[in-house]
């Protein structure tokens, strides 16, 4: 949004849109497509707006009908029994699973891009399959395994399950970043007598960091929002999505809407801030 950005935008526009564009013929499409996109955005935003509006509902027990505006729910987000415990569980599970999946996934991504080894295509398949398997099957199979080995489902089985399905997404995200790195940088480090470990921590890792951060954010978001796999492997432990699903039969408390809306604003803030910072860094 700085002058530099506007100028950069202008330059980009001038570069990709040569004068030939004048000759476009389908004038109707000029308006039809943007109008269609606007409608699609409305479709995407209706439930978000609903969730937000009903977080201010003076609802009492069940938050189904609009009964008047109040700030009470926002003032007291833990007011409904069990809701904050579930959120705390979700955050803890999300953090542990994110750290575990990001660490293991990053190592796999580095190995896949940088090294030649046998079983390479098998490895690619092992990464791809969990993403291509429906969540019910992942959840059911893992539960079958836990039952088979007489493991009681609970907090840690959720962590194990989340780590499992996050690894593949981390590998895919970090792999893209590794592939765009110049291998000669590591070779230069080696030439300067850095050990492989030093070369990794001093050269490769800092360059990979944006990709790793993106992967970690994705993993946390996936873990925090997961319901189906969690539902199979959670026993009596509640996560936030499970809490909402279970309370849906008797009407969810407005506090769930408050927490959903707050998460929305928080995530939006993080993403916008991240974009602004990276733009400023690029502009500098």
């Amino acid at each position: 949004m700085t002058a530099g950005e506007v100028a950069a935008g202008g330059v980009a526009a001038a570069r990709v849109e040569p004068p030939v564009r004048r000759r476009r013929r389908f004038a109707l499409g000029d308006y039809l497509l943007p109008a269609f996109a606007a409608l699609a955005f409305v479709y995407l935003f209706v439930p978000i707006a609903y969730t937000f509006v009903f977080s201010f509902n003076d609802s009492g027990k069940s938050n189904l009908v609009w009964q008047g505006f109040t700030l009470d729910n926002w003032a007291n987000p833990c007011g409904a029994p069990g809701v904050c415990g579930a959120v705390v569980n979700s955050i803890q599970i999300g953090l542990i699973a994110t750290v575990a999946a990001t660490a293991m996934g990053t190592l796999i991504a580095v190995a896949l891009v940088r090294y030649r080894f046998r079983f390479r295509s098998t490895m690619n398949l092992l990464i791809f399959l969990p993403m291509a398997t429906p969540e019910v099957v992942l959840g059911a199979s893992l539960l079958a395994q836990f039952l088979n080995f007489r493991v009681n489902p609970g907090f840690w089985t959720i962590v194990i399950a989340h780590t499992m399905f996050c690894i593949s997404f981390v590998v895919v995200t970090v792999k893209a970043r590794v592939a765009s790195l110049d291998p000669r940088l590591e070779e230069a480090a080696a030439d300067l007598y850095a050990s492989p470990v030093q070369a990794f921590w001093r050269v490769t890792f800092p360059l990979l960091l944006p990709g790793i951060a993106a992967a970690a954010m994705l993993a946390f978001a996936l873990s925090f929002d997961d319901f189906i796999i969690t539902n199979f492997n959670s026993g009596n432990t509640d996560t936030f999505p499970k809490f909402v699903y279970v309370s849906a039969t008797r009407g969810i408390p407005a506090q769930a809407n408050v927490i959903g809306s707050a998460m929305f604003l928080l995530a939006l803030g993080v993403v916008v801030l991240g974009r602004v910072l990276s733009r400023r860094r690029r502009a500098a």
């Binding site: 950069a8 439930p47 291509a132 019910v136 395994q145 291998p183």
Partner: protein, 304 residues
């Protein structure tokens, strides 16, 4: 460049680069993640398969099964639940087609029409992923309230006679499919955007210069070049939509139950593990076959 090349010649590389002797390095890097996936993904699939062939223990408690090779579990499960099975694929396919019909134009507007305006593109992309920031279950429940019988939407539609007085929107296949389409629309839009974003606009202009119609240019130039995105988007929508049971549970009734609902209830309410496992396995098998056929047909095999 020349220097880098020299490093890779066998003699020079061996003494200059200390990384090369570490032949075990890639395996060490792969070890933890691979073990995790083998123990908590691959092995469970094997366990699931053996569970699907188990036999009930004679005179045992409910939920007690012994290892066996009872293939009849599959035929019995299919005989009983084929409507839900077919319905899952029908709903999944319909939702995928609808998401493509909405997501492709949306991605096109962001990637092509808004090109050269980075800020607008960023904002629109953010709007596409924004639904992810509100919990999946909360969004689906929001749809349930919005489409409920006494809601503003339904009463308005009835007031202007767009909807017959006795009609309802929740508890219908329409609601379930609309929910599925909604929930997976970003998964469709983003990969198509990624493909179209790399599209060279001069190719479209070349098509027009050569007197191709707008439709002809789209069909011969734009669409083929965006196929990788379309394939990725349809898979990312079809697979989770077919296996989903949240939308059917929250927006539908037992008459709109999908195979996920059956697997869930067999597991938890009826403790009929073999049937649940057999159904899971058939679901996975069918999806794998369909995906393999589709990917081969669509001609993009470098998905992984």
């Amino acid at each position: 460049m020349a220097l880098a090349g020299a490093l890779h010649t066998p003699g020079a590389g061996a003494e200059v680069s200390p990384q090369r002797p570490g032949r075990r390095v890639p395996y060490l890097l792969l070890l933890p993640g691979t073990l995790w996936l083998l123990v908590f993904f691959a092995l469970p699939i094997v366990v699931l398969f053996s569970t699907s062939l188990m036999v009930p223990v004679p005179g045992g408690e409910i939920g007690e099964y012994a290892p066996g090779l009872r293939f009849a579990n599959y035929t019995e499960a299919l005989a009983q639940y084929w409507p839900q099975f077919l319905r899952s694929f029908g709903y999944g396919l319909t939702a995928t087609v609808l998401a493509l019909a909405i997501g492709y134009p949306l991605a096109y507007v962001i990637a092509v029409r808004a090109r050269g305006r980075p800020l607008l593109q960023q904002v629109m992309l953010l709007m596409v992923i924004a639904p992810f920031f509100v919990s999946f279950i909360l969004r689906t429940l929001a749809w349930r309230q919005i489409l409920a019988d006494e809601s503003l939407v339904v009463t308005t539609l009835k007031a202007v006679s767009l909807l017959p007085d006795d009609a309802r929107l929740t508890a219908t296949p329409v609601a379930v499919i609309a929910g599925l389409t909604y929930n997976f629309l970003p998964f469709m839009t983003l990969p198509i955007y990624a493909s179209l974003e790399r599209l060279d606009l001069r190719l479209i202009e070349a098509g027009q210069d050569l007197y191709a119609s707008a439709v002809g240019t789209f069909r011969r130039v734009t669409l083929p070049l965006s196929m990788p995105g379309v394939v990725a988007g349809t898979l990312l929508t079809f697979i989770p939509a077919t296996g989903d049971y949240v939308n059917a549970a929250l927006l539908g009734t037992s008459r709109t139950a999908m195979i996920g609902n059956v697997i869930d209830s067999r597991f938890f309410r009826v403790v009929d593990y073999p049937t649940a496992a057999a159904l899971s396995f058939m679901l996975m098998g069918t999806i794998v076959v369909l995906v393999a056929l589709y990917v081969r047909r669509a001609g993009t095999e470098d998905l992984v």
